[in-house]
């Protein structure tokens, strides 16, 4: 409190005048003893030793301002001195100061310590264990969510009239149509990079023409669908998590439940189904753009004309290469959609957790996409496609 109503801001750090009176040490405090001045004021008090005094009298007559923090500080100084067998009397004449001391005296006698941290090794083990259990639990929950979504999807396929068409088409627009420019551009660039890198190597053997083969096989079988999946995971998977997560925070999910609408039917099915439908289309488009990028690069760097490129392309790949790529698209779409919606549903009641879950959703879906892609590569090589 700036008691005398001066403009806020003028501080005169507290000072102490000490006087010995036989066995008694008289301390006359003056200046400001409020929070702002406390650091200096406490230093001033610390400079005065008890000098063997058994009892101390503190006089607050000259104190300009005091607040509970200042009072608390004085009370603690008294406590410390009295613990050493001395005696302290704080003379408070001002009724306002007295109420401040009463307020400060409400502070608890024992301080609650923060929960003790176990030692580093045990902490590490505990964290490892917790994460392992958490990881397994996430896997289990994801699997059960996948089951729920599969049942709902089958239900939708069997009873198409129950599909929410408007939501489905809106989702297809957001996840498919709006992704066309970025998917096209990135695939085109990947086609250029692939053509340039392989032409550099093949030129050593004078086999530049096989650049076309590498671009075609690379794009059709792997890169087209992978690039699309990564972009979609970043664009739409994260959006699913953020949308559903925010709805969860707002209790909209609970509201749906109480209205007798299944959140999986209303929110998850249109998203996952929409993604499964548009992802092959996006992938096909990405393939064309990627090969186009390869063709442009071949024309510029290798002098392979467009007609020559097409002829070589026909010899290099057949329809099976295209289908090997395209067949992965709905699978990846399912992974991204399910993971995105699952993480959204895992959001707890805070805005912070929406952010965390969104990050996890993108990381997990890209991770799973690549793992599944690797497994499919092995599978395809075993069955010889």
């Amino acid at each position: 409190m700036v008691r005398d109503g001066e403009q806020a801001g003028t501080i005169e750090p507290g000072s102490v005048a000490a006087r010995r009176d036989g066995d008694v040490l008289m301390l006359a405090l003056s200046g400001d003893w409020s929070t702002e001045a406390l650091a200096d004021a406490s230093a001033a008090l610390d400079r005065i030793g008890p000098e063997g005094a058994r009892s101390v009298v503190v006089d607050l007559q000259g104190v300009k301002s005091l607040d509970t923090n200042g009072a608390l500080f004085l009370l603690h100084k008294r406590q410390a001195f009295e613990a050493g067998g001395g005696q302290v009397e704080i003379e408070v004449a001002d009724p306002h100061y007295r109420t401040l001391f009463e307020a400060a005296a409400r502070s608890p006698d024992v301080r609650t310590e923060p929960p003790r941290r176990p030692n580093a090794l045990i902490g590490l083990l505990a964290r490892t264990g917790r994460h392992a259990v958490g990881f397994a639990a996430t896997g289990r929950d994801l699997l059960s969510f996948l089951g729920a979504v599969t049942v709902a999807l089958l239900g939708a396929v069997l009873r198409p009239w129950r599909i929410r068409w408007k939501a489905l088409i809106a989702q297809m627009e957001h996840t498919g149509l709006h992704a066309v420019p970025i998917v096209g551009l990135l695939s085109f660039l990947i086609g250029i990079v692939l053509a340039y890198q392989s032409s550099d190597q093949l030129a050593r053997f004078g086999a530049q023409i096989y650049t076309v083969n590498i671009v075609a096989v690379g794009i059709l079988r792997e890169m087209g669908v992978l690039i699309t999946a990564i972009i979609v995971a970043g664009r739409s998977g994260s959006a699913f998590t953020a949308q559903i997560g925010t709805m969860k925070v707002n209790q909209e999910i609970d509201a749906l439940d109480t209205l007798g609408m299944s959140p999986v039917d209303v929110l998850v099915v249109p998203r996952v189904l929409g993604l499964i439908l548009v992802m092959p289309l996006l992938t096909f488009y990405a393939n064309i753009m990627g090969i186009l990028g390869g063709a442009v690069m071949s024309m510029m760097a290798l002098d392979i004309g467009f007609a020559q490129f097409l002829t070589q392309l026909q010899g290099a790949v057949d329809a099976s290469a295209l289908f090997v790529g395209l067949v992965k698209a709905p699978l990846f779409a399912g992974i991204i959609g399910v993971v995105g919606c699952f993480e959204g549903m895992q959001v707890s009641q805070s805005a912070e957790s929406v952010g965390q879950r969104t990050t996890r959703s993108v990381v997990e879906s890209i991770f799973l996409v690549i793992v599944v892609d690797a497994m499919l590569s092995i599978l395809f090589s075993v069955i010889g496609v």
Partner: protein, 276 residues
């Protein structure tokens, strides 16, 4: 209260607002609004939705700059004050936002420490004591100190926000709908807490509220935002006011119920009773 009985009459007002004009686009919220808040009083700010109660609060603490007018807090002009002086003025007020506005990544104790670390050079030991005191003053159990905001109930979040607002022992306390979202028992306990703290710390309190019970329980005067200006008075004065909105507000069924409740229980429980 301190300041009220000052001999020379200077600084009797903690806040002076003159000719305030607030405009968002073409919508005028306040026009020629005046407001005085005396030192050591509890002023309630009421008004219908959209009359700019929270905006007024934000203009006083400098979060929003009004289109025109003067805003003086503790004798300093909030609108022109800059740099170190503005920083220093901020130490003299505490603000409790509607849901506490606690930093969610910090524990309650760490939240309360933020202003202490930022504005003072108080050592860690005394700081911990101050934190414990503020937690006790705000009526939180000691073990709340090491909890995160997400682990607290709505009422406890508000108390923790209050503890943070009190960390630097401000002269002025601003409360934005302190009892909104609390159950009636929690709300009246919170009212009692504010009243108790106001008396024992000599605070000047400005509270935006919708809660008629709070007005009757702890407010010395009330500012009603109406027709882009304020009408200020004690409850008794406003109850006699003939403005239709004020009439409906104070003499409607809820107003009457609150008045009756206040009459039946005119004594605010003390801290000790409240803690039990």
């Amino acid at each position: 209260m301190s300041g009220m009985d000052r001999p020379d009459g200077r600084g009797d007002y903690a806040i002076r607002v003159r000719g305030l004009r607030t405009q968002f686009g073409s919508a005028v919220i306040h026009d020629g609004l005046d407001l005085d808040v005396r030192r050591g009083e509890v002023l309630g700010v009421v008004g219908g939705s959209g009359t700019g109660k929270s905006v007024l609060l934000k203009e006083i603490i400098g979060l929003i700059d009004p289109a025109a007018g003067e805003v003086e807090v503790l004798g300093l002009d909030v609108r022109t004050l800059q740099g170190e002086a503005a920083r220093r003025l901020r130490r003299h007020w505490g603000v409790l936002f509607q849901d506490g506005a606690l930093f969610s990544s910090l524990t309650v104790a760490e939240n309360i420490e933020v202003p202490l670390k930022e504005h003072t050079r108080i050592g860690a030991d005394l700081r911990a004591d101050i934190v414990a005191l503020k937690i006790a003053l705000a009526g939180l159990p000691p073990d709340a100190a090491h909890k995160y905001p997400a682990e607290l109930s709505g009422g406890m979040k508000k108390r923790a926000g209050l503890a943070r607002a009190l960390a630097l022992d401000p002269d002025l306390l601003f409360l934005d709908e302190p009892t909104a979202g609390l159950d009636p028992i929690g709300a009246s306990k919170f009212d009692a807490l504010i009243g108790d703290l106001q008396r024992s710390l000599g605070l000047t309190v400005v509270m935006v509220t919708h809660d008629l019970d709070s007005l009757y329980a702890i407010c010395d005067r009330i500012a009603v935002l109406i027709d882009k200006r304020t009408r200020v008075g004690t409850l008794a004065e406003l109850e006699r006011d003939d403005h239709p909105w004020i009439k409906e507000y104070f003499r409607g069924p809820r107003g009457r119920a609150a008045a009756m409740a206040a009459q039946a229980d005119s004594r605010i429980p003390t801290f000790a009773e409240e803690a039990n």
